[in-house]
């Protein structure tokens, strides 16, 4: 099943998108405070180094347009086991692909991010439902030039939504 996030009137979108970004970044959580046990969830929240982003994603602090992406390199905090996320034991770095848009609503199916024709169903949904985050532990999975799309489930009733910009990585 899924819950409906209330639709936003068009006139309030800039404000709400800014709020959404604040939520998406802020509610993804602050960096670890001293003395706090590191958690695998931190990988979705700790600041990362931006590797690539689609053309229309604004700078941090500004609202993202729907269906844009950011790729970041994230250091795995010491002591964090990424195996529950499908990562290898002892991983020290991850690549974080965030797709903005939605609202991505909660239901029985996972939201699936597709890179080309390869699906990634282990998606983190931001608390406000405006960002989907996929963690990858193999940079080669980020195929430069591939299309990025999003679907609700693997066999969706509605066709996947394709992001306007393909995945473009530096040095590719």
């Amino acid at each position: 099943m899924r819950a409906s996030l209330r639709r936003t009137p068009p006139g309030r979108r800039p404000f709400c998108l800014a709020l959404a970004l604040a939520l998406a970044l802020g509610m993804l959580g602050p960096p670890l405070s001293a003395g706090q046990e590191p958690s695998v969830l931190d990988l979705y929240t700790v600041p990362g180094r931006i590797v690539a982003r689609s053309a229309r994603v604004p700078a941090p602090g500004q609202a993202p347009a729907p269906l844009e992406y950011v790729v970041e390199e994230v250091a795995v905090p010491p002591g964090v086991d990424v195996q529950p996320l499908g990562g290898p034991a002892g991983a020290t770095v991850a690549w974080r692909l965030t797709v903005y848009g939605g609202p991505f609503r909660v239901g029985a199916q996972p939201w699936v991010v597709w890179i080309g024709d390869r699906p990634f169903a282990q998606t983190y949904l931001s608390p406000d439902g405006t960002a989907l985050v996929v963690l990858l532990f193999d940079r080669a999975l980020l195929t430069s030039g591939a299309t990025v799309s999003v679907s609700y489930g693997l066999a969706p009733a509605a066709p996947p939504q394709r992001l306007p910009d393909p995945l473009l990585l530096p040095g590719a």
Binding site: R2, A3, P84, A108, Y124, Y152, L154
Partner: protein, 733 residues
């Protein structure tokens, strides 16, 4: 390692009168959806929002649940049913939702677990303790693990069962002894909705793999996801599939049934699917139903399916086939109660309903429900004629006879492993083909026979070899079938039909039209996007309907396609079968008429012994609070190794039954167990091997009172029925 289950079924005399004769078409003897006789009380427990850390899950979760239970617990212990909701936002503020856990200040946990209060109330009134558990903490992050939270959900269910084990043994915990000795953890049933469906399957598997020791007797996934293709054999299973599910739109949960059918040789657990036309995903949970909770969900069909509202069956147009939320809940109560009462409480009255031999009960509020039924893998419960698993099934049946496809337009396998095509309906989207819908774990779908005809003389014939010609002890011929809506030869909106012809060794034939006995060949409704869907349902034809043929000497079985000029269907699971259970104690007891002298027990005091003579032989010893039995019976030639018979006795408590040891021919079958009451004087000790196959002895005892000391030593005389003493006046234990 097999062991005797030390439980006994107690079945009243009234139930015996309702025993279904083999092959009979029965109306349901009782409506399982009617409220039960017991007053119901309600409680909750909350051990904290982060009280449990599932292994392999990124964060701790809550231990919170509601409890519906019989207000008067004195007649306990009662079986325990656990309900688990699916994926929904965890937190709300008015109608806004937030996806995190625990809920931050100002946000409230969404009580998805209260969405089944209607089920809890109904089931508790029939004598169950019903626990509905909250899983918001899992929902917040359930897509992060590779299994999308299935294991975490299973662990959460088992953690709650552990708590109940503690609370039924001690006075610890939030209830301070209220349930001490009142919960029967060897009679546990699980229901999971949506992702909860996959969670309860995972729980049952973990219970077995980790030897947790809970007696999980029934698992009911409702509109479930099946991302991981978990296979659950050896536990009775019922999968409810809402036809207008817009969320799990491909009805992937049907895989649980399909995958478990032949997974474990000798699997005694029946399996069922219940297809509910007009039902969506969310209305089975009142908290997810629009208008019943501020942060509810939508009608998933109209919300998720493009142009879904315009569909003539699932949409919102006048004359549509949709059920109201209340009607949907009624289907869950009716079939859920039937399933749990059948398998958790051995109430055999609901076997015909769950096998599709009885129409939906009035309480279900809709006749548009279709079921599939997979009988236990026991020689006397099911004989597979064709499983359609690999290409050899096109030429040779499961029993070794040859197969002839005559004048058929299409005759090939589909849906299973390569080289068969992955989908059976070419060009039709996968969400319209549930049996072959993809999952996260790539596995082949259901292997099916696609069969089409379009000319006179079309038929499909199986020859029965000498080893498979006796079928009289089975109740029905059955197969799963669905109409191929993508084939234009099937007239839109009309059901398909054909004749089944059985021919015996004397050349006598008898024909039965499928449509006389089953509605499973209906044209699936709907026209927009995700519908129509192809879902196979079971056709069951009573063997008694085939008049004039010798069911001890069948030679051929034919499908004769002469009722429609053309058509195309999908088939699988062709078998002779009977309705049975993993240890069908109640069913066996119901098949044996009561016997003996009412009110006259054969044993009255602890330490007294009785004997059993006849085809069944053995002895009984009275103990405090019951009678211990040790019986032996020669293994009949029809019984294969591993067959588990049931011993049935008429006692001062009614008709009681216990399970025998698995047969090991040619060794005699041994039956050791206990009854609560004392067997009646000259009652029958019956061992039931299967429908129509029993052995019987007579209970003799107690021995005559000691005679006055003889003048000369003499051997004591063995008592005979003729010189049994008059019954003592004392009541039985």
């Amino acid at each position: 390692m097999w062991r005797v289950v030390g439980v006994f079924a107690l079945v009243g005399w009234w139930l015996v009168a309702l025993a279904p004769p083999p092959g009979a078409v029965l109306a349901s003897a009782a409506d399982p959806g009617e409220p039960g006789p017991l007053a119901v009380a309600y409680a909750e427990y909350d051990l904290g929002a982060t009280a449990f850390q599932p292994s392999g899950f990124p964060s701790p979760v809550e231990l919170l649940a509601s409890v519906h239970y019989p207000r008067d617990l004195t007649a306990g212990p009662y079986p325990l049913l656990v309900l688990l909701h699916g994926n929904h936002a965890p937190c709300s503020q008015g109608d806004r939702v937030l996806v995190t856990w625990p809920c931050p200040p100002g946000w409230q946990p969404i009580p998805s677990y209260r969405g089944y209060d209607y089920l809890g109330q109904a089931l508790a009134s029939h004598g169950y303790i019903v626990v509905s558990i909250s899983a918001n903490g899992i929902n917040a992050f359930s897509n992060l693990p590779a299994d999308l939270g299935a294991s975490a959900r299973g662990q959460l269910v088992l953690r709650h069962l552990e708590l109940w084990r503690e609370w039924t043994r001690t006075t610890s915990g939030p209830f301070q002894g209220r349930f001490q000795g009142k919960v029967d953890l060897q009679r546990v049933g699980l229901m999971g909705h949506s992702r909860g469906g996959e969670g309860v399957v995972a729980a049952a598997l973990l219970n077995t793999q980790q030897r947790r020791g809970f007696g999980i007797r029934a698992v009911w996934p409702l509109a479930p996801t099946d991302f991981n293709r978990l296979v659950l054999p050896a536990v009775p299973l019922a999968v409810l599939l809402p036809y207008c599910d817009g969320d799990v739109v491909d009805l992937q949960g049907v895989h649980y049934y399909d995958d478990a059918r032949y997974a474990q040789p000798g699997d005694r657990a029946p399996k069922h699917t219940i297809l509910v036309l007009g039902a969506n995903h969310n209305y089975y949970n009142t908290v997810w139903t629009p208008g019943l909770f501020p942060a509810s969900a939508a009608d998933d069909w109209t919300d998720f399916v493009p142009n879904g509202a315009s569909d003539p069956h699932c949409g919102t147009l006048p004359g549509n086939g949709r059920l109201t939320p209340a009607q949907q809940r009624a289907t869950a109560v009716a079939y859920g109660a039937a399933f749990f009462r059948r398998y958790v409480s051995d109430d055999v009255r609901f076997a015909p309903l769950l096998a599709g031999d009885a129409p939906p009960p009035a309480s279900a509020q809709t006749p548009a429900i279709y079921v599939s039924y997979h009988a236990p893998d026991l020689p006397l419960a099911r004989r597979d004629l064709n499983r359609y698993l690999d290409p050899s099934a096109l030429a040779t049946s499961q029993v070794g006879g040859s197969i002839h496809a005559l004048r058929l337009r299409a005759y090939s396998l589909c849906g299973g492993a390569p080289p068969a095509p992955a989908q059976c309906l070419a060009g039709v989207p996968v969400e319209q083909q549930p049996h072959t819908a993809p999952s996260l774990v790539p596995r082949p779908g259901l292997s099916q026979l696609r069969l089409a005809w379009g000319s006179e003389g079309a038929r499909y014939r199986l020859e029965l070899p000498a080893t498979a010609r006796t079928v009289a002890h089975f109740q029905r011929l059955q197969f799963r079938a669905a109409l191929d809506f993508a084939d234009a030869s099937n007239p839109r909106g009309l059901p398909q039909d054909w004749r089944v012809v059985l021919t015996d060794g004397a050349g006598r034939s008898s024909a039965v039209r499928v449509g006389e006995h089953s509605g499973a060949l209906f044209y699936p409704p709907g026209a927009v996007s995700a519908v129509p869907k192809v879902v196979l349902n079971t056709v069951r034809i009573p063997l008694a309907a085939f008049q004039g043929v010798d069911l001890h000497d069948l030679r051929t079985l034919e499908f004769v396609f002469d009722q429609r000029p053309a058509g195309a269907v999908l088939l699988t699971d062709l078998a002779f079968a009977s309705v049975g259970g993993p240890q069908d104690l109640a069913g066996a007891a119901a098949s044996v008429p009561p016997s003996g002298q009412p009110g006259l027990p054969s044993l009255v005091a602890p330490g007294q012994a009785a004997t059993v003579a006849g085809a069944v032989q053995g002895s009984a010893v009275a103990l405090p609070g019951g009678v211990s039995w040790s019986l032996s019976v020669p293994s009949p030639p029809e019984v294969a190794a591993g067959t588990q018979a049931v011993a049935v006795l008429t006692t001062t408590w009614g008709v009681e039954a216990f399970a025998c040891w698995p047969a090991e021919p040619p060794q005699p079958v041994r039956c050791t167990g206990r009854t609560a009451g004392a067997a009646l004087q000259r009652s029958a000790a019956t061992v039931v091997f299967g429908p129509g196959l029993t052995a019987t002895g007579v209970v003799l005892g107690p021995p005559p009172p000691p005679a006055p000391p003889p003048l000369a030593p003499a051997l004591p005389a063995r008592p005979s029925p003729a010189d049994s003493p008059p019954p003592p006046a004392a009541p039985a234990p």
